[in-house]
């Protein structure tokens, strides 16, 4: 896959049919908070009420068609130095380096959009090896295994926590190399 075809952009209401293809798939939504969408109405509502107003949520696109999402959630107060990154893409695009490419792009954009951000962190379920590989390839550091950390879709999960610091990214790297 020519990596130039992978882009990030805000969601549009017109993404709805493409959105259902991945957000309607239990495999894709298994390890993220959002529920699998089951109708076009639900998809539209989610795009309008969640994706578009979100402070930092992008559609991962191939040839400008939505195949997934990546979002950055900024904390506040004493936690303002950090933000959580989350992502998912359509199952047909798994295993091709697309998610890694999208996460690298999102990391670069997020640190630019939030110049005072110090720490980007990500959580992957202990059994989700593919997501752990994405984070490792994108340059995140594995920090540890958090046992019985949270409920996800009604199941108590062990999560691996990763981080990427603003100081981990060399300012000398040309963005194009990412």
């Amino acid at each position: 896959m020519d990596s130039g075809r992978v882009t990030l952009r805000p969601f549009r209401v017109s993404d709805v049919d493409d959105f259902i293809l991945w957000a309607g798939d239990d495999q894709v939504t298994r390890n993220i908070r959002m529920k699998t969408v089951t109708s076009k109405e639900e998809a539209l509502t989610f795009i309008k009420d969640v994706c578009i107003p979100h402070p930092w949520r992008r559609s991962i696109c191939i040839d400008d068609r939505s195949i997934g999402f990546v979002s950055v959630y900024r904390w506040s107060g004493n936690d303002i130095c950090k933000a959580d990154i989350a992502y998912a893409i359509a199952a047909k695009y798994w295993g091709q380096g697309i998610t890694t490419k999208a996460v690298k792009m999102a990391v670069s954009e997020a640190f630019k959009d939030f110049p005072d951000l110090v720490r980007l962190q990500a959580f992957a379920a202990v059994e989700n090896k593919a997501s752990q590989r994405v984070l490792e390839k994108a340059g995140f550091t594995k920090e540890g295994l958090l046992r019985k950390y949270t409920f996800l879709k009604g199941q108590l999960k062990d999560l691996v926590i990763y981080s990427l610091l603003s100081t981990d990214i060399s300012v000398a790297v040309d963005d194009k190399l990412l």
Binding site: R33, N78, D79, C81, L146, R147, Y149, I161, S163
Partner: protein, 180 residues
């Protein structure tokens, strides 16, 4: 007032945990005004009794689980477990502080063991008791390790303490771990 107590040796003071209330204000001010105690805490050293009274009224008394650490029923520190909501209700965060004159005697270790032995019964929905400790706070790390908490890793630049972004060690004790 009901006290969870452990008797020391014959003649040595009894350590207990009980609710902290406004009548403890003068004892509270002993550790709350000490920079050595507040150094690794999220709160700043207290400088007025009024602020201490406000804290006890507005934070301590309504808190889901906040106890004074007492020697012969006199408050010499505090220990608390915070509650979370929704998907995070399985975990609670442990915090504690002790007046510096009582450091190095194993008091906090005993207090943490007392919490660990009751909190999972008091909160049946709790699966995980966790604690975040500044990487430079060796004393507190040793307390948790002696009680049997698992050191899970170092979270780099995790949160802001006294205006600086700090690396924090994260520890956990599960309801299914061997009882301390």
């Amino acid at each position: 007032m009901e006290a969870d107590g452990k008797q020391g040796q014959e003649g040595s003071p009894e350590l207990s945990l009980r609710p902290l209330d406004l009548s403890d204000i003068d004892d509270f001010m002993v550790w709350a005004t000490d920079d050595k105690v507040s150094r690794f805490c999220t709160w700043d050293t207290y400088t007025s009794k009024e602020a201490g009274i406000d804290y006890i009224k507005n934070i301590v008394i309504p808190h889901p689980w906040f106890k004074a650490i007492c020697l012969d029923n006199k408050a010499i520190g505090a220990i608390s477990v915070s509650a979370n909501n929704g998907n995070d209700r399985c975990r609670g965060e442990l915090g504690y502080a002790l007046a510096s004159k009582y450091w190095g005697k194993g008091i906090v270790t005993r207090a943490v063991k007392m919490v660990a032995s009751t909190i999972f019964n008091e909160w049946p929905h709790l699966e995980r008791l966790e604690a975040l400790v500044d990487v430079e706070n060796g004393g507190s790390q040793r307390v948790l390790e002696k009680v049997g908490f698992h050191r899970e890793g170092v979270l780099r630049k995790f949160c802001i303490l006294k205006g600086r972004c700090r690396d924090m060690v994260i520890y956990s004790l599960l309801s299914t771990d061997p009882q301390p």
